[in-house]
């Protein structure tokens, strides 16, 4: 009997505890920056698309929900002509973000993406592309990569020397 009364008492004491319910959607929960939610495609610091369509995200995806097609603009810069994520298959494991060598694809702390129809969960590139750098400010793949693209010639990337004169036998 005493044990019951003690149980009652302990539970009764919760009257004076703080409520833990978060009144979503009036109050938004606090989501940490690493949260693996809606996937976006970010841009590099000069506002150009970061994705170079290397296909690593699509192959890393355990469920195969990412598909893309590489294209190349007139300056030689690679970009995805097509980028599609079927969120109705996505498991938000983050392997795509981890696989991305240009910090383009990122998972964000946005989890509100329910739909009544699965078909509406198919996101194309225009739905994915954001205007900023997202979680990784500052990184610009083409500044590191040796490829010559519009506005950046050979030897102008980080840690590069100008092109050698191949007509010369001298150093």
């Amino acid at each position: 009997m005493w044990s019951h009364l003690r149980t009652l008492w302990i539970v009764f004491l919760h009257t004076f505890q703080k409520r833990v319910t978060v009144q979503y959607p009036d109050v938004k929960p606090k989501i940490p920056p690493r949260w693996r939610g809606r996937i976006v495609l970010s841009r590099d610091p000069d506002g150009k698309e970061r994705c170079v369509a290397c296909y690593l995200c699509s192959v890393a995806c355990p469920v195969g929900c990412i598909t893309l097609q590489a294209g190349e603009d007139e300056t030689g810069r690679r970009y995805p002509k097509l980028f599609r994520i079927n969120f109705s298959r996505c498991v938000f494991c983050g392997l795509c973000e981890e696989a991305c060598p240009t910090c383009a694809i990122q998972l964000t702390p946005d989890f509100e993406m329910c739909e009544y129809k699965r078909q509406n969960l198919v996101y194309e590139k225009e739905h994915l592309l954001i205007s900023g750098c997202g979680k990784y400010p500052g990184y610009n793949f083409y500044n590191v990569a040796g490829l010559a693209i519009g506005g950046k010639g050979k030897g102008e990337a980080e840690h590069e020397t100008p092109p050698v004169d191949v007509r010369s036998l001298m150093l």
């Binding site: 019951h4 149980t7 009144q23």
Partner: protein, 318 residues
């Protein structure tokens, strides 16, 4: 004329109105209180503090399909939920809410209550049987066994009060507590009655007939829509009834200073109701055989002893 027919009609209407609404409000209250003790908010979206939640529930439950499983015994299946509501409502006939605010102050009020509560068991037993579902059947059987165990000492636990008050009429019992509430001299009776009341209303820790985790929903597994609603309302009516009776028999009914008697009655009833809910929030469930064991092995002897002692003391006092 007015007092012979009119007043009782007002009382009947009033009691029906209050009691039925109370059942509805209780749904909301229980959910809010459970939430309170579980660090949550409970329903808070419909109306201010979610008070209109019962209305929403009602609307929903009314618009649900009125479904009778094809394998059920149809007549019994439909009748069963009505029985519980009717019997519990009839029990309210003898509850004195305030001086004069009683449907009929018969002099065997307690016996009438006991009779009605015994009848109420038929509802559950029949529902369990008519559903033609093994879980329901087990639920129904458990109800019956529980009833057999608890009706006995429930009646006996009330007898102490009856002896002390010298009447079966609840009005008189309340009046008899003007000096001292029976919760003091009849503390054992109170405990036993309350335990029996818990069992009577199938509340945790004695909710075996419906034991969700075991029997899915026991006797009302197959019920839905308004028929389920009637069981639901019946349960809350039962809780209110037991609380009212507890108040009437042990806590001096409407007695109290300053406030009008009806309010006193209501406040006391509410506190007992809260206790019901707190128990539900806190305690685990007994096992079926343990329940029976408690009934026969502890509660019955206890109530008998209580009765003997009370009888003895009353005789001595004379």
């Amino acid at each position: 004329m007015w007092t012979e027919i009119g007043w009782p009609l007002v009382v009947v209407a009033g009691v029906l109105f209050v009691v039925l609404n109370l059942a509805a409000v209780l749904i909301w209250m229980e959910r809010r209180l459970l939430a309170l003790w579980q660090d949550r908010y409970g329903p808070n979206r419909v109306g201010i503090f979610g008070v209109l939640q019962p209305v929403a529930d009602m609307v929903k439950i009314f618009f649900k399909e009125d479904w009778v499983p094809p394998f059920a015994d149809k007549v019994t299946f439909v009748m069963a939920p009505a029985i519980i509501v009717v019997t519990v409502l009839l029990s309210f006939v003898v509850v004195p809410f305030a001086p004069g605010v009683i449907v009929t102050d018969i002099n065997i009020g307690i016996l009438f209550f006991l009779a009605m509560s015994s009848l109420g068991v038929y509802s559950l037993a029949l529902a369990g049987w008519a559903s033609n579902n093994k879980y329901s059947l087990i639920g129904g059987m458990r109800t019956t066994a529980q009833m057999l165990a608890y009706e006995v000492f429930m009646g006996l636990s009330m007898m102490g009060v009856v002896i002390q008050a010298g009447s079966f009429s609840l009005t008189e019992i309340v009046e008899a507590q003007r000096g001292l509430w029976y919760c003091i001299p009849q503390c054992v009776g109170l405990v036993v009655f309350f335990v029996a009341g818990l069992a009577e209303t199938h509340r945790i820790p004695f909710d075996l007939p419906e034991a969700e985790g075991e029997l899915v929903a026991g006797f009302h597994s197959e019920y839905s829509g308004m028929k389920f609603g009637m069981f639901f309302v019946g349960e809350y009516l039962g809780i209110t009834l037991i609380s009212s009776l507890t108040v009437a028999m042990f806590f001096g009914g409407w007695l109290g200073p300053w406030l009008p008697p009806v309010l006193w009655f209501a406040i006391k009833t509410l506190i007992v109701l809260c206790l019901f809910i707190l128990i539900r929030a806190s305690l685990p469930r007994f096992r079926y055989d343990q329940l029976i064991e408690i009934g026969w092995k502890y509660m019955l002897p206890l109530s008998l002893v209580n009765l003997l002692v009370t009888g003895g003391v009353v005789l001595l006092m004379r």
